[in-house]
Amino acid sequence: MELPAIDICKLEKAYDGIIAIDELSLSIPQGSILGLIGPNGAGKSTLLQTLMGILLPDRGDAFILGKSILDSGPDIRQQVGYVPDFPIMYPRFKVEEMFALAQRLYINWDENKCRGLCNYFKIPASKRVRTLSRGMKVRTALVLALSIRPRVLILDEPTAGLDPVARRAFLKAMIDEAAEGGTTVLYSSHNLNDLEQTADHIAVINQGKLLLTCSIDELKNSIHKSQVVFAADNPAEKVINFLPGLIEVSKQGKIYTFTASGDQQAFREALADLNPTIIEPVNLSLEDVFITYMKKEGYSYDYAI
């Protein structure tokens, strides 16, 4: 079997006794685009920073392209492009000076690609870094990360702070990179619509723990939702609670909305016994699925005004 691009083994990290990453294991095959999702403070950024060697893990290990992050030298940095949530660059440098510096540091630096991407992302080369907006800094950091011809890209909420046009351009650049170079991408995002179309796999983390990892199709198939109207009498609550995999029921007028996990066929069959007149499946976006999962984990906001 091909070596995974990123292999995380029982990684642990705590800040002042507060656990940020809790025995997390995750393997990402080469050429895959994995979306990392989780609520604020789940440990996403800590995980990515630990992978980049910016933070040291307390226990456990992780391997990028077969090399341990504990003793990864400069050669691994040559192959990993990283865009942090707040890109750090020398504020007094001009953008073109940043690129000139990077060109000398990275052996695989692709000057043509860098120029092309600067055009594409409309990067003002002669401006000083400190005068750039957050969005422009993110674009600049991405150009840097892509121009080193990376085999692995690690992006921390890259689309936050980008306008819709730039966001689209950014996703396109990422897709092209994965499609052409077979680059493995690990990126965290709160924009689940983006993830839904660009990622092939998803990892959900909460409170430093990996809740689940699977393909997007699997995740979306794991939860289903339907609107149901019953013939004459509404079934008793007891009976409804016996529906297989039921997570949530809501009722508005005569219409019940059921959210359930697991086998959709079995659910339908059990439901058919309750004499429904209308069963209508409801499309669930990744966002809906995520919110349902988080609710199951006890993370939700219920407005009481």
């Binding site: 689209r168 396109k172 092209d176 994965a178 660009t198 976006s285």
Partner: protein, 131 residues
Amino acid sequence: MHLNIDPRSSTPVYQQIVDAVKNAVARGLYNPGDKIPTVREMASELTINPNTIAKAYQKLEQEGVIVTMRSRGTFIAERKTAPESKEVKTLLKPSLDRLRVEAFHLGIEPEELKILLLETLEEWEKERRDI
């Protein structure tokens, strides 16, 4: 090739691509021998994960809708002329059964359904001729 893909639908994205390509071919927008975009081009154009596109192409190839010729690209395949009875059974029969059930509940009599079906097929033929 423009395909309408809705990532938020509960139909998996790869299946939507399969359906869209099959639809475009059936309507005569693409003919046997026409070249279609490569996986990379399609991924870039639609901003959709390349592995998802590859999965869709694999399925289309299995179903005989497209053929990939090494180093030359991917093309729309020649149309099948002799349908395999097994495939008719697994792919077409369930849809026909569903149609029958829906028609029954709409109060459509079998004779009316036949006429509707014929009309639909004629419309389809006309559309193909007009392209």
